[in-house]
């Protein structure tokens, strides 16, 4: 059984944007990259997989559970990195990570310390004072610290340049080697080398790119 599966996934917004009939499957331990320009439908795809929006046609599932119908189970399997930065005003980075671990019902903070060190984050800073790249990395720590089997990463390199971008790419490589199933979206092709297979989205329509992604 595929770990992530989408069949004819369609969601059209009133303005005409969205995605149209996207199908793919990602096997356990595999990494699928979804590339495309801004407005291509990458974030809509992630929203559908996260159960934030309901598909108008088709459906998607993670570990066999429908993403819209069983979001609570799906979320036990998923680490999610949103495209937008962390916006919990007034909280320190470390407070956010501890809160988030408790909120998720975890008994500890898992790999928090290790990831903070690896990504050179200063978690004692308040989020409102934290530079944007550091907030992005903190959000990635929140997604990874409990070592979930599936990672959904929306623009993991957004706002990160140079050494910080390289730190994240290296971390994602390690996660991949650890056997995580990954679906990442990006407008940045530099992540393509991480992926076993790739699809390109253009105005919400899927285009196969390398590999044998069924469309």
């Amino acid at each position: 059984m595929a770990m992530i599966e989408a069949r004819g996934l369609t969601r059209v917004y009133p303005g005409g944007g969205g995605i149209f009939g996207v199908s793919f499957s990602v096997e356990r331990g595999e990494c699928l990259g979804c590339f495309g320009a801004a407005g291509a439908g990458k974030t809509t795809l992630i929203r559908l997989l996260m159960g934030f929006v309901r598909p108008q046609q088709g459906g998607c599932a993670i570990d066999g559970a429908d993403c819209w119908a069983f979001p609570s189970y799906v979320q036990t399997q998923v680490g999610y990195l949103p495209e937008f930065p962390l916006v919990w005003e007034g909280m320190r980075g470390v407070d956010f990570l501890r809160f988030y671990a408790r909120y998720r019902g975890e008994h500890g903070t898992g790999r928090m310390g290790e990831l903070i060190e690896r990504l050179a984050v200063r978690p004692e800073l308040r989020l409102r004072r934290m530079p944007l790249p550091m907030r992005r990395k903190l959000a990635l720590i929140a997604a990874l610290m409990q070592a979930p089997p599936v990672l959904l990463l929306d623009e993991p390199l957004a706002g990160l340049e140079g050494e910080e971008g390289a730190q994240v790419v290296e971390l994602l490589r390690v996660e991949r080697q650890a056997g995580r199933t990954m679906l990442l979206t990006s407008a940045d092709r530099s992540l393509a080398e991480l992926c076993d297979r790739r699809i390109a989205l253009e105005s919400g329509l899927p285009r196969t790119e390398g590999g044998e992604v069924p469309v």
């Binding site: 996260m50 036990t76 999610y80 949103p82 962390l86 809160f99 998720r104």
Partner: protein
């Protein structure tokens, strides 16, 4: 079932507004108590005679013969409906629309905590804030009355008055929560809920003028709360109106939560 970590975090975030509302309620309550002595020389009656329409609109034209009637006229007629909004309006907005608009709802839902549980937790935060505000405000005013005017406050009537007032607060909180569950941005929430509440107050004030405008009062749920009628014992069904307001508040909250469970979220 609620999420305790989220409940604790939201209570901490709502704390400043809650405290501001409590202090304002105390200021209003103790201010009214301080004015009660002056009332014995009839200042409120003279005010009502000088500006009858204005006093009628603000609910200041009621009876003032006893302490509880004075409080019903000067405090519960207007201030006790407005001041809790210092807590209710921002808190209800932050709990749902604030998270949706600020995208932090994406983090809340990216956890094994379903939408039902998130909405239930946020409702619990709102209920907790309102009930503690109501208890502390009512208790503080009653204590102040006991200290300043021993034995003068008719506790039975005061409790009934304060209990009816709670029903109005819950109705307003339910309405705000309902709008918050529908809104994508805090600004839109504030505009819609603020305008609705302002309209309700305006209709209530117009209805109090009587004459041809009396019908305006029937268009607002706030008219179900008649503080002077309660303490004068003139309410035909003194428990029906608060029960209707309470039911409206609970239904608003449930309808808001139900919509939130089904809606697409722009996260």
């Amino acid at each position: 079932m609620i999420s305790l970590p989220l409940f604790r975090m939201e209570c901490r975030r709502a704390w400043p507004c809650w405290l501001a509302a409590l202090l304002l309620l105390y200021a209003g309550g103790f201010g009214a108590l301080a004015l009660y002595d002056i009332d014995r020389i009839g200042w409120l009656d003279r005010l009502a005679a000088a500006w009858p329409e204005l006093c009628a609109m603000l609910g200041l034209d009621g009876p003032t013969g006893t302490l509880v009637r004075f409080l019903a006229t000067t405090l519960y007629g207007c201030l006790m409906l407005l001041l809790p909004l210092v807590y209710i309006l921002p808190a209800a907005g932050r709990l749902m629309a604030g998270h949706t608009g600020g995208r932090s709802m994406g983090y809340l839902l990216a956890a094994p905590v379903g939408r039902r549980r998130v909405a239930a937790t946020q409702q619990a935060v709102l209920w907790t804030g309102i009930l503690t505000l109501w208890l502390l405000a009512g208790g503080g005013i009653a204590l102040g009355a006991a200290l300043l005017y021993p034995g003068e406050l008719e506790m039975g009537w005061y409790l009934l008055l304060h209990l009816d007032c709670l029903a109005v607060w819950i109705m307003m909180a339910g309405l705000c929560f309902f709008v918050s569950c529908h809104a994508d941005r805090p600004g839109r929430y504030l505009a819609v809920s603020g305008e609705l509440l302002a309209l309700f107050y305006l209709l209530r004030m117009l209805g109090r003028l009587g004459g041809q405008l009396a019908a305006a009062g029937w268009l607002t749920p706030l008219s179900l709360f008649d503080p002077t009628g309660i303490v004068m014992g003139e309410e035909t069904w003194p428990l029906v109106a608060p029960l209707l307001l309470l039911a409206a508040g609970v239904l608003f909250m449930r309808a808001g939560a139900a919509h939130f469970r089904r809606r697409d979220l722009p996260l």
